[in-house]
Amino acid sequence: MSTASRGMDLPAEQAWKLPSRGRVGMLSLIIGESALFTIFVVAYIFYIGKSLTGPTPAQVLEVPILGTICLLSSSFTIWRSEHAIEHGRMRAFAGWLAATILLGVIFMAGTAIEWHKLIVQDGLTIRTNLFGTTFYSLVGLHATHVILGLSMLSVVLVLALLDRFPASQSERFAVIALYWHFVDVVWVVVFTVVYVIGR
């Protein structure tokens, strides 16, 4: 409470501004999710090199450069679509949104190919060793979040294409975009831990 306001009436016209509940709620959720990921990341780091049997990350992991580039650039495309809907440019909005989804799908496809190779070719499953357990859990947890994000974005895209997602919903879209940014940031951490430190 500032000294200036003490003892004075709150001027009626003085704006009483509070943060939007959607953003506060999403930020809170992100804090909670971060704690969830932290635990999985810590477990991954703790178990690096502790597997009793092979295969080791160095033997079987390939760095998913394409997927990573796609996912990270989708943060840019979703930011463009946020910008577009704020300014009421609905076609640009739908376009950038579709691009975001496409990039996300490419990322997921990359993960699917990687997992297929690991399971079929290298015989690494979640039961094989500690590396398998921690790897599939951590990357899988992230992938679950990507899929969740993609589903939400797809619903929005379908509504937008049907002209049912007006510009007045931009605030809600911003909340979804916030989630998507979070998913991207988590990937930076997961990528660093799994493919850089852990390899």
Binding site: L18, S20, R21, G22, V155, F165, S168, Q169, E171, R172
Partner: protein, 284 residues
């Protein structure tokens, strides 16, 4: 959020309040999710039912809030709430026109305590180093006693070892010394104004003597290696040095006004004789 979102429950016209409509989708979603998890311990059929419920509930939920939240209007019933109390009067502390406020009237700024702590801490180094020099011909002796033999876990150190220079001893000693001097300085800054007279006597002499006495009786347990080698005369001297310097620095700092016109008794919140008499007068 858009402006109508800013206050989701705003009333459009007086007499009616728009509130979120009751909905069954949350409970259906919760039940479906529980079934999904329970299917692990039950059977897959439970899980399928759960997934169906979750999907149905999610669709229903989205339709509830999209594009606009579903509201229902609740009629407002006129109800004049009158806030009253039987306790209409408020007791006052009579020493000032300001009845309710902060304690004490004027006080040293908190920074003065920090300054006092720093000054006292620096002053204290001299007798301590002098003690090491005179008894062991080493300026590091006192430092290592505090930092090395004291806190770091040197096992069975010899006197010569303590008298030599050690980085670990130095930095641990510096940390302990700095932290404790700052804290005690803060305490001086806070407490000295409560004894308005003779700050030097109290903070400079009485407090160090008390502190030395307490340490003398417990130090052998806190830290026997330290206690075995300590020279209490020198120790007391350096404490007094600290106390007088810190007390002087604190007392010389100008007092600042707080809006708390109360005597020591009330400031501590311990004594309330004045307070009580005021109240009783008021009650009569």
């Amino acid at each position: 959020m858009s402006s109508e979102e800013k206050n989701p429950h705003a009333s459009e016209n007086t007499g009616v309040v728009a509130l979120p409509a009751n909905t069954a989708w949350p409970v259906v979603l919760a039940f479906g999710a529980t079934l999904c998890f329970a299917s692990l311990v039950m059977n897959p059929g439970v899980g399928i039912a759960g997934i169906v419920l979750v999907v149905v509930a999610l669709v229903g939920w989205v339709r509830q809030i999209f594009p606009h939240e579903h509201h229902e209007d609740v009629p407002m019933v006129a109800h004049a709430t009158i806030v009253t109390t039987a306790r209409t009067e408020v007791g006052r502390i009579q020493l000032s026109e300001v009845q309710r406020s902060y304690l004490p009237i004027e006080s040293y700024p908190i920074a003065s305590g920090i300054k006092g702590g720093i000054a006292g801490g620096i002053a204290m180094i001299f007798p301590a180093v002098l003690f090491g020099w005179l008894t062991q011909h080493s300026i590091w002796y006192a430092v290592n006693l505090l930092g090395g033999a004291g806190a770091a876990y040197w096992t069975n150190p010899t006197t010569a070892y303590i008298a030599a220079f050690h980085w670990s001893g130095l930095w641990i000693a510096v940390v302990i010394h700095a932290v404790i001097c700052l804290l005690v300085g803060l305490l001086y800054g806070a407490l000295l104004p409560m004894w308005p007279r003779h700050p030097i006597l109290l903070g400079g002499i009485l407090a160090p003597v008390l502190w030395t006495g307490v340490l003398h009786s417990v130090l052998w347990f806190i830290n026997p290696a330290f206690a075995n080698r300590i020279a209490w005369g020198w120790f007391a001297a350096s404490q007094l040095f600290f106390g007088i310097v810190a007390g002087l620095v604190v007392a010389r700092t100008g007092k600042i006004q707080t809006r708390q016109p109360l005597p020591f008794a009330l400031r501590m919140g311990i004594e309330a004789k004045e307070l009580m008499s005021t109240e009783q007068e008021d009650e009569k």
